[in-house]
Structure formats: structure tokens, C-alpha cells
Subunit: 137 residues, 3 copies
């Protein structure tokens, strides 16, 4: 078994942002030299997420509006008694989930035609990281 | 390390459908000959999901109604400016998540008593696929 | 490739509860002797979840209130025709997701500064289990 680990860094200008990272995942798989296995891709923070969906700006706009409806910013989260103001960011992260596995077959991401990997930032304007760990043979 | 990859095909009659695929996952694990490892099961589409829950028709009815409430069909999704009409299908896929890992111990799915694997179709009546990749020894 | 499997047992006093299990995951990784790999952590039940987020009591209170809003207890779930009363527990489990992967690098959980593993019980007061399977080298 081989494994290869990389870290991506983000520092978004906006509080919420959606960043396409399929090229970085492809690059990590290539560097790993792994032909059959899995690429694990995960936010290393509890106010961000990693998901697989469409690379289409209208849909990303819909996702952002929808998440704000399901897990809205509010002043009165109990979490804010600690001095934080990002209660909604934690809940958005829980809905979208912070990690995905991408299958690797014959050295390539084994994705369907529209699948793309995204980093979703829900509490940006600060340094954040994503871990990519490729395992296989 | 051994690995084994299979693809399942679906073409549902209904737009939304919930299909029990535990037998197919068990069959892939058996074919793999893997005794200790993980079976990765994932939709290859961004308007479908794979989840683990109960094989009970009432619950499946509840899940479908609940998803329609949380991520309703609407005319006015921004995504529809591309000509698509399936904005809700993408959001339903994000809630349920498109992939699961099933643990494999002594050659069997290491599930609790009621866990079953389901393929959830949110934009059917067309050809769709699921990937199963079993890895281990 | 090495693998190591453990089961945690829970029997909560409350119907809903949130239990910090990072120490148990760390202990399983240590016992496995694995330096590079993945730790899979999953509820073995369909009315519970495993997630990664903050170890902060205010946030846990917010998560619980928010889940009750998104997937409320109701008398009239179709699932209840079977005699069950836990329809909401299944839906809460679907939102939060029942499993996570924790990356293992140089023998340690490769987590960001605030990431912690939690077992979320949505239908407690009975015996439940979590599986931890560590794989790698």
C-alpha cells in the first residue's frame, strides 16, 4: 500500500465562498503514483466543508441561498456566548459534510460526467486548510 | 492490498426513487475476496445519493416528503437559467450525501441490525450509475 | 496493509445525547500501530450519527435545537404505522450522516485545531454501538 498526503491552503476574501478544487485533487493523485485506491479530501476546520457537485455558478448561488435559509445567521446562538459569531457556519458545515472520498481507477479520478470537488468556506477571511490523502497501490 | 471495482446501472421510471442495493454491495464484497477492508459506494451523479438507513416503506415515504420540504422543487432556481429544471435534485443530493463507506470484517458487511444501503434517485428517467470499490486484504 | 477493528458501546440516559469520542478514536489508532492511513468511525444504527465538529457545550445545544427544527418529532410519520415512534431520529441521522473518516499521519489523527469526533444519539436509552476500523501501514 502506498499513501500520499498534501495540504491545500485558503484565505478567502469573502466570509462565504465556494472554490473548485478538482485540479488540486487530480494533481495529488498523479503525484501519488497510485493506480487503484481512494483520495480522501477533507476540510480541517469545523466551519467549512468539502462536497462533490456541479461546476455551475447559478447552482452555487442556489446552494448558498439555500444554506442560509436552512442554517441562518442569527445573533442568539448559544455558541455566541463564547464570543464567537459563527454559529451558522458550524451548522452549514454539518449539512454539507466536511469530507468526501474520490475513487481512483487506473490512475484517474473515477467520477461521473458532472462530478467536481468543491471547498465551501462558511467563515472565511482567515487561514484555512484542506487535507488530501491518497491511499492505494 | 487488493481492490475490486464494479458499476451498477439504474434507469428509474419515476423522477424520484429509492432502491435497495445492499445485495449488490454484498455481491461485490464476495467477488473481491477481501476479508478486512472497506467498500466505498457512491453515486456518479450530482442529482442522486447513496445512504444507509432502514428498509421500511413508510420511512422511505417520510424521507421523500421531508426532502421535498427541505429542498423543494421551485421554478426560480438560478441553476434553471441554464435550461435545467432540476435545481431541487442537486440540493436533495447535498443533504443526503452521495457516498457511503461500508466496513468489511471477516468477508462480510460489518453492519448493525437495521443498516441497509440505498440508492436515492432525485432526477431519474435517464441512465445513471453507482460505483462500488472494495479495498483491503 | 494492516487493519484494526474495535466497537464502542453506548447506552445513554437521555433520548438525545452528544458524546465526545475523540479519545476512543485516538486509542484505536494507537493500538492499530498504523502510521499512515484512515480511521473509519461509524454508527451501527440508523437513528444515530457520527460527526466532526467543536467540543463546545453551547454549540452542541444549538445543534440539538436546530436538528429538532429541521427534522422535528411528529406523531404522524408514516414510519410510525409499524409501531415505532422514532421517525424524527431517522431523519436527524440522515442530515448529520452516520460516519466519518479521520486521516492518520505519522501515527496521529491528522486533524485541524478544533476538530473533534462526536457520537450523536437520537433514539437512546437502549444499547447502541459504533465501529472503528483503522486501515493503513
Amino acid at each position: 500500500m502506498k499513501s500520499h498526503t498534501e495540504y491545500l491552503k485558503f484565505h478567502t476574501k469573502k466570509r462565504r465562498d465556494y472554490i473548485h478544487i478538482t485540479p488540486q485533487v487530480e494533481s495529488a493523485v498523479k503525484k501519488s503514483g497510485i493506480e487503484e485506491g481512494l483520495a480522501f479530501v477533507s476540510a480541517m476546520h469545523i466551519t467549512a466543508a468539502v462536497y462533490v457537485n456541479d461546476n455551475e455558478s447559478g447552482l452555487i448561488h442556489d446552494i448558498d441561498e439555500w444554506l442560509e435559509k436552512l442554517a441562518p445567521f442569527r445573533e442568539d446562538y448559544r455558541h455566541h456566548r463564547t464570543g464567537e459569531t459563527n454559529g451558522d457556519s458550524h451548522l452549514k458545515s454539518l449539512i454539507v459534510h466536511h469530507e468526501v472520498i474520490v475513487p481512483v481507477t487506473r490512475g484517474k479520478l473515477d467520477f461521473g460526467p458532472w462530478q467536481q470537488v468543491y471547498y465551501a468556506e462558511f467563515d472565511g477571511q482567515r487561514a484555512k486548510r484542506v487535507i488530501i490523502k491518497v491511499m492505494g497501490e
